[in-house]
């Protein structure tokens, strides 16, 4: 009895029509105006999205209103000054750029190497588990503690002084747990079936890692590293702790030269009483935001290209 009935339901009179999928407007609970639990949940989620967006807009708006006029070529290419109208961010900009390059040079090989070891070579066991848990923990340690560690280890024990190198080493330390974690995630996206395909062609583990696993996970690793660097460029506390200068009238010229960085310059200006410096701080924030936007766009672009290629 039930069978012919069932076929009758499925077999619609109009053969071209999509069967079994009712049109959206026909759903009984979809009538506008009624508050269903799902609608309430949807509204709460929307609110959760809008709130941080709004805060970000206010921040950007305020910085734009305060600093847009100050944002000239001269501002980017001048040294700090006692007079807010003449002050610029050249040393801070150069310091931040050098810092990022050095940090990346230190954090990428160590972080990616550690991730490759943990993911591809380490045998799962208590020790590996212990290391994994601690890397996750380290990623959550407040950055000022890294600053204190950098001060004791790099500045004092290793006698690097309050130099660019000490700053980069401290930031690299701060980034390592994050770089390791994102790199491991990227390595894990390479499916076991692809690795096995490589083994089945008579490849050994090293060839499999080099020819298949790394090329497939590289964009993911790069994306993670760029996002980590975008975070590092805004880090202030550890740099202040290790003693980055707040007034620098020169561009760093060696690994050992003293330095300042954009967030420190901003912090310095904002804590001064004169209103002119507050305008400078707002302009500095705009520059910092623009740099982060570029970093994040590159990361998103890379990820999109990567996804398309694997699709």
């Amino acid at each position: 009895m039930s069978r012919p009935h069932a076929t009758n339901v499925v077999g619609s009179d109009q053969p071209g029509e999509h069967r079994g999928l009712p049109a959206r407007s026909n759903t009984p609970r979809g009538n506008a105006g009624t508050l269903t639990p799902e609608r309430a949940f949807q509204a709460i989620c929307l609110l959760a999205l809008l709130l941080p967006l709004l805060l970000l807009l206010v921040l950007i708006g305020q910085a734009l209103a305060g600093g847009w006029d100050r944002l000239t070529w001269g501002f980017l290419t001048s040294y700090p000054s006692r007079f807010p109208e003449q002050a610029g961010i050249l040393p801070a900009l150069a310091g931040s750029a050098c810092l990022m390059l050095l940090t990346a040079a230190l954090a990428i090989p160590i972080g990616a190497g550690a991730a490759i070891y943990l993911e591809e070579y380490a045998r799962p066991g208590r020790l590996t588990w212990f290391i994994e848990v601690n890397i996750s923990n380290l990623a959550g340690v407040p950055s000022i503690l890294y600053g204190l560690l950098g001060l004791e280890l790099f500045v004092r024990a290793l006698q690097m002084g309050r130099s660019l190198l000490a700053g980069a080493a401290t930031l690299a330390l701060l980034l390592l747990p994050m770089v390791i974690m994102v790199s491991r995630e990227a390595l894990r996206t390479v499916p076991q079936s692809t690795r096995e395909a490589c083994y089945a062609l008579g490849a050994d583990r090293w060839q499999t890692i080099r020819r298949v696993v790394l090329p497939m996970s590289l964009p993911g690793i790069l994306t993670g590293i760029i996002l980590s660097l975008a975070r590092a460029i805004g880090e202030t506390a550890p740099l202040i702790t290790i003693g980055a200068l707040t007034y620098v009238a020169f561009v760093p010229d060696s690994l050992h030269s003293p330095f300042t960085a954009l967030p420190i310059q901003i912090f310095n200006w904002i804590s001064r009483p004169q209103a002119g410096f507050h305008v400078n701080a707002a302009a500095g924030i705009l520059v910092l935001l623009a740099i982060m936007l570029v970093f994040n766009s590159v990361a998103i672009g890379l990820r999109a290209r990567f996804r398309r290629r694997l699709a």
Partner: protein, 287 residues
């Protein structure tokens, strides 16, 4: 569940040469005397484990040269594990173990001093899910195995065309060789994987349910291909599809719960099975 009388007895003298063994072994492939194939591989008392779970129990089986052998059985019977033992892919998985012997041209591939990497160059494999290398072009996928082994390829174009031709894919992709292999359809990807395996000119080709992820049209293309390739290559194909086994295989082995229940010519297994379990399975009473 013991070995059937037509099964070859484990023989330490020459487990791999059907024609030279005792009478029971001469019969092992069930063909007429003039056309008895040579055994390319021989499996003896093979047991395999995942951790503490024994998934293969004392399997003894010949693999005929330049013929196709199907391994059938319900899900979880150990078919895939069995085929992965033939090129030592089983041990790639953590916690996996193997005991027993597997001969390739008379040489135990589990003997000490045998490099599994070298072995896999002789025993190629095609997997359940098509797995071309997504970062490589179609052309590079085909050449991947040769590149990995640092073989100097003098006539790259010829190698690519020949392998893709054998895999019945050349006509479809000859104009897009530099596009990514990941852009092909599922059936094309699987044929690309077959081409990738064939480019190495393996002596044995293992296929682990090569059609399970494909639609009927792609499946029939691959089945035609297997039938064609079995003239030149020794093929072992795992399948849960009995019709497929009867269509493409010269010999069929039926595995159930990790044991070999029955082995014989495909004809004998499907028309005149000597075990009740085999009969029940091929007539669809379970599985």
């Amino acid at each position: 569940m013991s070995m059937q009388s037509q099964e070859p007895q484990p023989s330490t003298r020459s487990p791999h040469r059907a024609g030279e063994g005792p009478p029971a072994q001469a019969n092992s492939f069930g063909g007429n005397a003039a056309n008895v194939p040579v055994s390319k591989m021989g499996v003896e008392n093979l047991c395999a484990w995942f951790g503490d779970t024994e998934v293969l129990k004392d399997i003894t089986l010949p693999v005929a040269e330049r013929r196709s052998t199907a391994v059938i059985g319900p899900s979880g019977c150990g078919k895939s594990t069995f085929i992965r033992c033939l090129n030592r892919m089983h041990e790639v998985v953590r916690g996996a173990r193997v005991a027993g012997r597997v001969f390739l041209d008379g040489q135990d591939i589990y003997a000490e001093g045998i490099n599994p990497v070298r072995l896999r160059q002789r025993v190629g494999m095609v997997f359940q899910k098509p797995n071309p290398f997504p970062t490589m072009s179609i052309r590079e996928n085909v050449l991947a195995g040769l590149r990995l082994q640092k073989v100097r390829i003098r006539y790259e174009d010829e190698v690519v065309e020949q392998a893709l031709g054998q895999a019945a894919l050349w006509e479809e992709v000859k104009d897009v060789l530099d596009r990514s292999g990941g852009n092909l359809s599922g059936g094309q990807q699987q044929r690309l994987c077959i081409a990738r395996a064939l480019a190495l000119e393996p002596e044995v080709l293992l296929m682990d349910e090569p059609c399970s992820a494909l639609d009927p049209i792609a499946t029939s293309k691959i089945e035609d291909l297997i039938a064609e390739l079995s003239d030149r290559y020794t093929i072992v194909i795992v399948t849960h599809n009995m019709q497929q086994a009867s269509r493409v295989a010269d010999y069929t082995a039926f595995l159930y719960l990790g044991r070999l229940i029955e082995y014989g010519t495909t004809e004998a297994i499907f028309q005149n099975p000597s075990c009740k379990e085999t009969e029940d399975y091929i007539t669809g009473r379970f599985g």
